[in-house]
């Protein structure tokens, strides 16, 4: 295989060979290579295919702006990713690389027929066709279009890697470790300022890595760089490489993604693949540099056509000569240096073709000295070569007229259309840009963030200028942070500066309408497409972008936006600043989902709250259900039991003897203070003033719109102390709402709220034997009907543990809720379990609790109510303290629609054929009406009831409370079920079972 490695050049380590595969074939590279540099070193330019026309493509850049050389990369099972930029991915032994968007192979791709149909596939063609015949869209056209989608293939396996994140605070964050960033870091690293310097590349240095001929402060640039980096480290600067600033968010928060393992042959233990850093910086210095612009001409996309600066980087940083016989095509001085460097590395530069009629004398002089032919005032009008460029067709241009062509044989075309500052992160700040007519480019102007730009990122040329600007910006930032910095930039020798002009499409003598002059390489957007869009009325640059997809590829317009703007402006006949750029948005370069999800995967996606009894339930084989963040025991199946059987057994056990239930997840709020009762009066619908100490009451909480928000039993422990319970899911919400009213509406009240949800774990005992089981264990309270009637509460000792004992029932049976401090809950549970054995105590879960409460007509907020239900709708007018002057929701309840007739009321339903209704099923009065039917309600709860001997249901039905005994119909897909409206209480309406 041909080697294009130039001995002695570059920063790669020739003594450390690395082997990898590309489309199954083995290639050798060396440590420090990227996939692109290693393939180029092997003479391989063809690395990908474009999106629409499947044109063969090679790398056009040497960095993260690459649109063409996108590959798939794999590291064993589960570790595959598409669309990786070959110009960024470092190689390691065993890396598997594959090409994409081709079939059957990269060099022979059937999809390339699209290229032949090029004239048909003009911008936006799909909006104009595929409409007839009408039925073809779903069956023929759309499937066809969809098959053409995408570049690489999606991963199909779960990702075995882990990802991480951290927060980082610093005084100064510097993005980009080129000369400007380095100098800014040096200047800012004074008097303990915390400075962070990041660069996306494997090593710091930026352009310095590609300019080995320089001397700084009299030393070879790379020596200077090495020592400068150690000085910065010694000054405490945190230098992060392989770290991309992906987005600039509000108030100087910058997101970084650090790549930790993608470059390593073996994965170290306990090391995530990537880490997301959320950096909050006092000041941000953007020193991102500039990006070179391609020239737009017919055939500017063949493998071997690349940016001149990239060729320079491949040579000087990677020691790779991208062509032996390159042609340089440029409108800017900088490409001349590329020509000189390549010539100096053994290439025979076929010509320097410059579009400008004249250039600096020293450049001409050096070209002459090196023996490079020069063609000034020329254009390029075509190239040839299928999988690699073979020649370039160039013509002189005079007075706007394109003269006769000559064809220059070559194996690479190194082009430069000048440079454009990297404005991406600055634009994320919604910073304003200013048009610079001289450089025909936008430069950063104002931003509201505490942010400055340094170096090439604001249009400055040359390493000296970058260093000086960086140092000045660094000093400025230090001054803004109250520190005096005196750092000065070092002196540079051998600096090569330059200027150029901006071109739109290069002039041509061929039919411009047929030219394949690419602006956005990946999306195959040509200059012609842009002009077509303008012609069709797309006069906003945003329309042009969306109509042509220019700038929407994975490089996000890094190479195409400014060329696109210039061409569109020309087509519109308007100056560029009136046309404007499209918006740059995060991320700066595509960012893995893994890094963005970081720790929030699996168990940590959302935490799971568990009660102290949870482990016991798990050991018993309980099935769990999620309720808010909690997981709760749902039912406790015995071997061979399904859910229905288990629930049936659990229900029977509670009604027959005694059941034990973990109610610890109930929200609890301690309301304390002299104004506690006033507060309760205002928050809840119910009256509280007369509730005696030691008594409890069911409380209903509304929003100020009058709809039910929450409920719970509330005990009065002292005149100035209430123990409030809330629903499991509502705990945080209710506390927030109470704090809101207290702090905002009634700040004068002397009352305070403390969450005790997790202070107290709650064990509920229910059943005819509950009191018998509990009484012997209780000290301080006499568990008789007289001394401790239903709806009592007390502080006492249970099983020797300090407890708050409530006599309440959510099942209709004699019930107690024993609250003990959470650390003691398991002790209590086990004691009750042990003592309960003689009563055949049965643990039950939330499902049984739901059945038993439904049999008694107790509502579950959020199931039987849905945010549109008033207390009256729910049949709980009794809970509303009508004589109270005000409570939250009272005024809302009086609104016209809330007092209207025919609201939906909560009622019971018994099916006439004894079948069980489906929760959510809709109810109608007239089963024979056509669709759309007039629906009058829905089933909110439905269970088989062992106690009733048939299924029962709760439902919201229009005017239901006035329709007792009437029949309603529930149309199901296969049949219609008739049901009778009943009251909501199915079991023991007189509450006789509640008595001890």
């Amino acid at each position: 295989m041909k080697s294009c490695r130039v001995p002695g050049r570059g920063r790669v380590d020739a003594s450390r060979p690395v082997t990898f595969t590309f489309d199954g074939r083995r290639y050798g590279g060396v440590a420090g290579d990227t996939v692109a540099s290693a393939l180029l070193a092997n003479g391989v330019h063809l690395m990908g295919r474009s999106f629409k026309y499947h044109r063969p493509r090679g790398p056009v850049s040497a960095g993260s702006e690459e649109p063409n050389a996108l590959v798939g990369t794999r590291r064993g099972p589960g570790r595959f990713e598409p669309n990786t930029r070959a110009t960024v991915q470092e190689i390691w032994d065993g890396l598997e690389v594959t090409s994409q968007n081709r079939f059957p192979s990269l060099s022979f791709d059937l999809g390339a027929v699209n290229d032949a149909g090029y004239m048909l596939f003009s911008a936006g063609f799909y909006y104009k066709t595929f409409m007839w015949p009408r039925g073809f869209w779903d069956k023929v056209y759309e499937p066809f279009i969809r098959r053409a989608a995408g570049l690489g293939a999606s991963p199909t396996e779960e990702d075995p890697d882990s990802y991480a994140s951290r927060n980082l605070h610093c005084d100064v964050l510097i993005v980009g470790a080129g000369p400007a960033g380095l100098a800014a870091a040096r200047a800012a690293a004074v008097e303990g300022l915390r400075v962070v310097l990041v660069d996306e590349n494997a090593e710091a240095g930026g352009t310095l890595l590609s300019e080995p001929h320089l001397q700084i402060d009299g030393r070879p640039v790379w020596d200077w760089l090495a020592s400068e980096l150690s000085v910065l480290k010694a000054l405490g600067v945190r230098i992060m490489t392989r770290t991309t600033a992906i987005g600039y968010y509000h108030q100087n928060m910058v997101g970084l993604v650090e790549k930790l393992t993608d470059h390593l042959p073996a994965l170290p233990a306990d090391t995530p693949r990537e880490r997301l850093w959320r950096v909050r910086a006092g000041w941000v210095v953007l020193a991102q540099g500039a990006i070179e612009k391609p020239l737009v001409f017919n055939g500017n996309d063949r493998p071997g056509v690349m940016l001149a600066g990239a060729a320079q980087t491949y040579l000087n940083r990677y020691g790779v000569r991208v062509g032996d016989r390159p042609v340089v095509l440029t409108s800017h001085d900088s490409a001349w240096f590329a020509a000189f460097d390549l010539q100096g590395a053994g290439a025979r530069v076929q010509a320097i073709v410059d579009t400008r009629p004249s250039v600096r004398e020293d450049l001409l002089h050096e070209a002459r000295a090196l023996g490079i032919p020069v063609k000034l005032g020329h254009t390029a009008t075509a190239s040839s070569g299928r999988l690699r460029v073979k020649s370039l067709r160039v013509n002189p241009v005079q007075g706007g007229r394109v003269g006769a062509p000559v064809t220059i044989a070559c194996d690479a075309v190194l082009m430069s259309g000048g440079w454009t500052p990297s404005l991406h992160l600055f634009s994320h700040t919604q910073g304003k840009l200013a048009w610079d007519e001289e450089q025909t480019t936008f430069l950063p102007a104002e931003t509201r963030e505490d942010c400055v730009i340094a170096g090439a990122g604001r249009g400055l040329w040359g390493v000296q200028a970058a260093l000086e600007d960086g140092a000045a910006r660094g000093r400025g930032v230090a001054a803004a942070l109250g520190k005096d910095s005196t750092a000065r930039a070092p002196r540079v020798q051998g600096d090569r500066t330059g200027t150029g002009i901006t071109q739109i499409e290069l002039p041509t003598d061929l039919n411009a309408g047929r030219a394949k002059a690419f602006v956005d390489y990946q999306n195959d957007v040509t200059a012609k497409d842009l002009r077509l869009a303008v012609r069709e009325g797309m006069h906003s640059i945003e329309h042009v972008k969306r109509y042509t997809t220019n700038g929407m590829a994975t490089d996000q317009g890094k190479l195409s936006n400014i060329n696109g703007l210039n061409i569109a402006a020309d087509a519109l006949g308007r100056p560029q600043p009136q046309v404007g750029l499209t918006t740059f948005r995060p991320p700066y370069t595509p960012t893995t989902f893994g890094a963005l999800a970081n720790y929030h995967r699996g168990d940590h996606f959302e935490l799971t709250r568990k009660t102290p009894i949870d482990a016991w339930a798990e050991a018993q084989g309980a099935a769990f259900e999620p309720v808010g963040q909690w997981r709760r025991a749902w039912y406790f199946p015995r071997p061979g039991e399904d859910m229905e059987a288990a629930v049936r057994r659990e229900c029977a056990a509670v009604r027959g003897s005694v059941g034990i239930f973990d109610a610890s997840t109930l929200g609890k709020i301690e309301v304390v203070g002299p104004d506690a009762v006033t507060f309760m009066e205002r928050m809840y619908t119910n009256p509280w003033a007369k509730l005696g100490v030691g008594r409890c009451r069911y409380g209903l909480l509304l929003g100020d719109d009058g709809f039910i928000r929450d409920d719970g039993v509330i005990g009065r422990l002292a005149p100035d102390r209430f123990h409030v319970t809330t629903t499991t899911g509502g705990a945080a919400r209710v506390l927030n709402m109470m704090e809101d009213y207290l702090q905002t509406e009634w700040p004068d009240l002397n009352v305070w709220l403390t969450s005790t949800t997790e202070q107290w774990s709650t064990v509920a005992l229910n059943g005819p034997n509950a009191a018998k089981l509990l009484a012997p264990l209780v000290e301080g309270v006499d568990l008789t009907e007289e001394a401790f009637p239903h709806m009592s509460c007390a502080e006492c000792t249970v099983a020797g543990l300090p407890a708050r004992l409530f006599r309440v029932s959510f099942t209709g049976e004699i019930g107690f809720e024993v609250n003990v401090p959470s650390p003691m809950a398991m002790q209590l549970w086990e004691r009750l379990w042990q003592e309960g054995q003689r009563y055949g105590i049965t643990a039950y879960g939330t499902e049984t609790m739901h059945v038993l409460r439904a049999e008694k007509g107790y509502i579950i907020v959020g199931q039987d109510t849905d945010g549109t239900v008033t207390p009256y709708d729910a049949g709980m007018g009794w809970a509303v303290g009508k004589s109270k002057p005000d409570f939250v929701g009272k005024r809302g309840l009086a609104r016209p629609d809330l007092v209207a007739k025919n609201r939906r009321h909560l009622v019971g339903l018994l099916t006439q054929d004894g079948s069980r209704l489906e929760e959510g099923a809709q109810i109608v009065f007239d089963p024979d009406q056509p669709i759309p039917m007039t629906m009058v309600g829905h089933v909110t709860s439905s269970y088989h009831s062992e106690a009733v001997g048939q299924p029962i249901a709760l439902a919201l039905v229009e005017g239901g409370q006035d329709r007792m005994g009437q029949t309603v119909h529930i149309p199901m897909p296969d049949r219609t079920i008739a049901a009778t409206i009943t009251g909501t209480v199915f079991v023991d309406p007189e509450n006789t079972r509640l008595k001890i």
Binding site: A164, R166, L168, H169, P268, D603, K610, T754, T756, S822
Partner: protein, 184 residues
């Protein structure tokens, strides 16, 4: 992830060279709410309640952290709860306040080691280093409300509600391993 489920049995926690996490011995915790003249409460508690959010005070075995303009967290030996509660209760009429025992609500994780502060950056968005030694803050760790006490440059305590502790400890454990790998 089940380790701290009941939160009260000291489970093995990560022990790294650069950062360690361990479970602190149980302590009694009281939430005190009051406003206005605090002199009487100070006297009853035997400690002057700090009035700046985040500031701490201590006397004997009582440790107080000001959490809000009218809110304090008290850590004290379990045996002293009764006495403290009683002396405060006696003031209820003259100095309205709220004292609630939350000893069972949360656990305390101790975090130390040279990179303890960095470990906390896994979950804390605020600048942990900026909390002065000897102070504390209520803050969020990966969206979980926690109370962070800074006892030394590299020594912290983190109070976490029981049911959130496994999640927090799990993340800290991951972080300890990452930091150890980084240091290696």
């Amino acid at each position: 992830m089940n380790k701290l489920v009941s939160s009260f049995t000291a489970a093995p926690l990560p022990q790294g060279a650069v950062a360690r996490v361990s479970l602190a011995a149980p302590v009694a915790r009281l939430v005190l709410r009051a406003r206005g003249d605090l002199a009487a409460l100070n006297a009853a508690l035997g400690v002057t309640l700090p009035s700046v959010v985040g500031h701490r005070a201590g006397a004997g075995e009582i440790e107080v952290l000001c959490l809000g303009p009218d809110e304090w967290m008290l850590h004290l030996p379990p045996g002293q709860v009764g006495a403290v509660s009683a002396s405060c209760a006696a003031l209820m009429g003259s100095h309205p306040h709220s004292l609630v025992d939350v000893s069972g609500r949360e656990v305390t994780l101790e975090i130390d080691g040279p990179r303890a502060a960095e470990l906390l950056t896994l979950g804390c968005a605020r600048d942990v280093e900026a909390i002065p030694v000897g102070q504390g803050r209520r803050t969020a760790f990966d969206n979980v409300t926690v109370i962070l006490w800074r006892d030394g440059p590299a020594a912290f305590r983190l109070d976490v509600w029981n049911s959130f502790a496994p999640h927090v400890a799990g993340l800290l454990e991951t972080g300890c391993r990452e930091l150890a790998a980084e240091a290696a």
